[in-house]
Each structure stands twice: as C-alpha cells, then as structure tokens.
Symmetry: C2
C-alpha cells in the first residue's frame, strides 16, 4: 500500500522522476561555493563561522567544518541543539536567549559543546550566569554592539564596556568578545559604497574592542559579517570571525551582490494546468516558496513573466504562449528570491548532480525557531 | 539533560510559561467560529466541506466533522494522506494531481477513503483512469471550471461538458460533478458588490451544470466558495458544497471581510531586546510569520507601529516609548496577516483557553505540499 512520498526512494533517479514541489541543491554549485569561501579564509587572520540559518542542514555544516570553518553560527537555540546532536562541537548563537526555560536548555547545551551566545541586556547576563552555575557549565558570551542596523545590540563604546565588565564578573560566564552585524549594509549594491560604509561600521566595533582592552579585558573574538560583506569584513584588521550564510545557496537577491558564487538552490515544480495557453499553472505557491524579497524567478521558460503565487499554485504568465509547449506533468525550475526562508519551508533537500539525485539531506533544523 | 522543547510539557501552564515563538489557538474563539459556520449550513441544501489547508490539523478536522461537515477539502495529496490516516473518510482534493508517482498514491488512497479530485485536462483524466484501474479503486472526479479567477479550470459550457463526458466514459473514474472557485472575489470588501459578482460567477457554474445534465449526465456535486463568500455561495440554488477554510482562525485580512467570526489564531512572541526605548525586538520573524498579505499586527502594545520582520527578529517601532514598559523576557501577542500560510510554518498549535494551555495539537499536515 503506497503511503506518503519518501524522498530517499528517489536517490539515483533523474529529476523527471521525483515528486514535486521539491527543493534541490546542485552539488557542483554547492561545492564551488563552499570551496570559494573556504579559500578566501584560508591563511587569513579571520576565520569563517558559517551561519546555519540558511541551510539548517547538518550535512552542509559538516562540509563547511571539513573545509576549515572554525565553528557554526545559529540564529536560534533550537537550531543549535539540532546541530550539536549531529556532532558540531563549537556553536555561536548570534542572538539573545532570554526566557527561563530556554536558559536551562542553553546551559544544558553548554555542558555538551563549546557554546557562545550574544547579550545586550544586564538582567539577561545575570540570568545567564545563574543558569550556567546551576548546570555547572560555562557559557561563553559575546556582547552585541549595534553598529548601525538598529535591531539588537548595545551602543558602541561605554555601554558595551559596562556590559563586558558585568559578563567578566559573572561566575558561570566567560567574556569571549564582541559581535556586530552590519545587516543594514549587506545588500548595498555598489561594491565601493558597501566597502566604505561597512568599514565605518566596523570601526565602531574595533574602537569598542580597544576601549574594553584598555580597561584590562581581553577581547578574543570580534564577530560580524555576512555573504554580502564577507570580503570587506573578513579582511578588516581585528575582525576574527565572519558569519556568512547565504553563499552556500544564493538566490535572486544575493546573485546581484555576489556574482562569484553560483546558484545552487532550486525549487522543482510540476505544471498542473495549461488550459489557457497564455499561462502555465504549477504546483508551487507560498507554502514552498517565499516572496518577502520579491517574486521567485521562473527559469528556462521563454517569455515567462513574474511568478504570481497563491497558497499552493504558481501562475506563470507567458508573453509568447506559442513558444512554450509545457503541458501538465512537465517540470519547471524556480530560483528562490530568499534562500534562507525558502529552506525553512522544506523537510528535505534533494542533493543533485548533473540531473540525478545523489542523496537526500534532512533539513533537520527546519522550524526550530524556539 | 534538557533537550529540545517538547510542547506537550506545557499543558496546564499559563502562557507566560511556554516557550516562544509559539502558535496559539484560542479555544473559545475557535469553538465560536466552528459553531457559527456549522449553524449556517444546518438544514441548508448545501453542505460544508471545510478546507483543511488552513489548519492542517486532524484535531480541528475532527471537530468540523462532528459538527456536521460533509467531508474535508484538501489542497494537496499529502494533506489528504495525513487526514485519511487520522480517520477522515471523505476527502476532496480541490486541485489537479498529475504526475505518475502521485497518481499511484492517489489511487491507493482512493482504495481507503471516498476520494474526489479535480481535473481540467483530458490527458490527466486518461492517466487518472489508468491509475484507478491498476489499483482496483474508484476515483471520484469533479471537473474544475474557471469562473473568472484565471487559474485552473476549463472554460464554462462546452469545454466542461466534453471533459465531463470523458470522465464518465473512463473506467475507474466516477463523474461526481463540478467545482468552481470564486477566489478572485473572496476578498472583495463591499458585501453587496461581492454578492453581485459572486452570483454572476456561480451562474456560469450552474449554467454548465444544466448543460451537462441536458446531455444526460447527472451532476451530483457543485462545489465552490470560501470564507469570504460562504453565505452567498452556500445559499445559491444548485451549489451543494462550500469549501470555506479560514473561518476557523481568521487574521488581519479576513477580519475586514467577515466580522462575524472571532480571531482565534495568535503568535506568542518574547521580547529579546529593548536597548533603544523607541523599539522593541521580539523573537519572531519571517520563519514563524508570513507577510504576503501585509505585516502581522502587534496586539496590546500602545503606539506600536507596523511590525518589521527579518528572519528571526521582529522590530516594533514605538510612537510613545514611555508608555511601553516591555523588557526582555516579556510576552507580545501577534495577529497573523494570513492564517493559512502562517500555520504551515509551525509543527504544533497550543490550544489555549482563558490563558491556559489545554492541549497541544500537531499540525500534522504542515509542509505536505507534495
């Protein structure tokens, strides 16, 4: 009796024979991206700590570490737990973890792996210390500094110094350094403008490091950066770690910023209706593709207009219907507009090489937002 | 050793003690909505076949059936498999199912439950019949008619007749009737304009029914409608089934259209940062809330501006910072802008009554887009 599709059955098959909508990673492109980024950091003062929020996939984290990454970055505690269970031994949660139940989980995790977390609040520092002591663990702490993004983080300079001193004085915690994310600049189009602005933002972070060290506290880690800024941030004197994530997959958004990486992430869809020749309807909507960065892009369909999503349908308007022979059952490849949120909609990645499914990788931390 | 959060541990707890981001359903509001919709259809010629795409949750489907629903509607085969496994015995997949592997699954499912599927393509009808015969099952079929939405469906009149005749002549298939979805009208704001336009669209469907019956084929089912149009469609002569879904939860979008239903779905978030008094940062971003219908709404925070989402953060700008005492660790309730896609991001619904978690319901068909 046939039951729900098990994607592992598709290993060895060509893409015409897998069920859709399916999220694919092209292994040649992925390996190109992993090698290119690892090569940039090889022999450099700063290390690469790839952000797993993009892939949420232990198989990819393992490859990043094998190529020299100094550890893995996560956005949420739940992601960190999944990656720790898969064998990752050094994790930064680049975020604040605040409520009581989560602090217990965090301290327990710190007993199993080298765990670092960001802080920007004095009460949170006190609670973190208490959780660590109760658990007999050491939690490593980065003080997050707001270097212009206007999201989390204390102001550069004295406020960061005060928090660093509190962390250093709290039993159970180890002051590890500073984190600042130039997220407001990662998608700045012009490379020269991006470089100038990123360097100005990082200067705030490094000035704060110098201030804290003047007060006698060593600042071991200075962490920042993303795919849009990895080269500038990764070569800025004093930065020790870069948290790039999207370079593994890329998408319509990052393609414009970082042409040196290849597109590796695709959504494979199937045509389900072609009644009116001027449009093709596919089996992929908002539940398998995200659109906060704009419409995903239809590939390989001549004259395809902007993809219009409803929940489980995608509508492709055609400028030249007679040029497009697509019928129900045929496949269409879609390029996501935001790789990180698209991955979070799927349970599996089909790892594909030259059109054949080579492996199926669980997106094991999908939905781990707690 | 504490591991990943298990939400079933939160049963009996107040909301201050659950981990976030968490998706909540308020049971009093849900029960109001279920009863109101069931009451509308009680004793009416048309029946309610609620659309499970909204909740993807067997616990809610069970309640809908207990209140008199004639069956359940699904958008995808994978959803139908999950609901069948939970005991739902009569399912409409209001969509085209086309590729070979899926047709085998569909036919297998038709051997276990009363299964109906939509078609708009002659080759698909032939393939469906072959799959049904191979499996020794009967697949019930609705011919989908495009009544103005411009998505799937054949044109009203002769094209629908031809497809209905083909279905009726295909061994393994049973011609069950017609489906037409007035999805282009469900969010029309003005009730009178909505009514007039919906009735004009349904007239196309009923004209087609009459044509097919003139040719000697009985049209048992005429299916359509949604939460925005349930009253008009549900009382239109000849319509036999209405596929409303969103009424169970509601959201910022449907609230404007259907004030008789209560808001029952909320995202509970936690403040993770409040460095700058003019903004509150919560632990909820695009990975737990969708925004294709606009920004979700922050509830209970005086002077809160439009919620700005990044991947795992939400930024709430405050017009009067001194009126808002929120500190890290405190909770904020968010009203989704689109209930159906938001539910699809979560694995569990916390079923809450008067602020206490009464049960935890798996969103068992989450991600079942295949």
């Amino acid at each position: 009796m046939l039951e729900q599709a098990d994607p592992r059955e598709w290993i060895g098959r060509e893409l015409e024979q897998v069920e859709t909508p399916a999220l694919l990673v092209d292994l040649d492109a992925l390996e190109h991206n992993l090698a290119l980024m690892a090569g940039f950091f090889a022999g450099r003062a700063a290390g690469l700590r790839p952000h797993a929020k993009t892939h949420k996939c232990p198989e990819i984290a393992r490859r990043q570490l094998a190529l020299g990454a100094v550890g893995i970055t996560c956005a949420k505690l739940g992601e960190a737990e999944v990656l720790a269970a898969s064998g990752v031994g050094d994790i930064l949660i680049a975020n604040q973890v605040v409520d009581a139940a989560k602090l217990q989980r965090l301290a327990a995790l710190a007993g199993r792996v080298h765990l670092t977390v960001a802080v920007d609040d004095a009460a949170n520092v006190a609670a973190l210390g208490e959780a660590a002591r109760q658990c007999g663990a050491t939690i490593h702490v980065l003080v997050e500094v707001d270097i212009g993004m206007g999201r989390c983080g204390v102001a550069p300079g004295r406020p960061a110094l005060a928090l660093a001193q509190q962390v250093a004085a709290t039993a159970g915690l180890a002051f590890a350094g500073l984190m600042g994310y130039e997220g407001h600049l990662v998608l700045t189009r012009d490379p020269q403008e991006r470089k100038t602005k990123v360097e100005a933002a990082l200067e705030l972070l490094l000035d704060t490091k110098r201030l804290i060290e003047e007060w006698g506290l060593p600042v071991g880690i200075v962490s920042g950066g993303g795919t849009g800024t990895y080269d500038v941030t990764g070569s800025f004197p004093g930065v020790t770690e870069v948290q790039a994530g999207s370079y593994v997959f890329m998408d319509t958004t990052y393609r414009e910023i970082r042409p040196e990486f290849q597109l590796s992430l695709f959504l494979l869809a199937t045509v389900i209706s072609r009644v009116d020749p001027s449009r093709v309807i596919i089996d992929a909507g908002h539940k398998v593709l995200t659109s906060e960065f704009g419409a995903p892009q239809v590939l390989g369909v001549p004259g395809a207009g902007s993809l219009r999503l409803s929940e489980e349908h995608g509508r492709i308007p055609l400028a030249e219907p007679e040029q497009v022979s697509l019928r129900p059952g045929q496949r269409v490849r879609i390029l996501p507009s935001h790789c990180c949120t698209t991955t979070n909609l799927h349970d599996h990645l089909l790892a594909v090489r030259k059109g054949v499914v080579e492996d199926v990788w669980p997106i094991a931390a999908r939905g781990r937002s707690q």
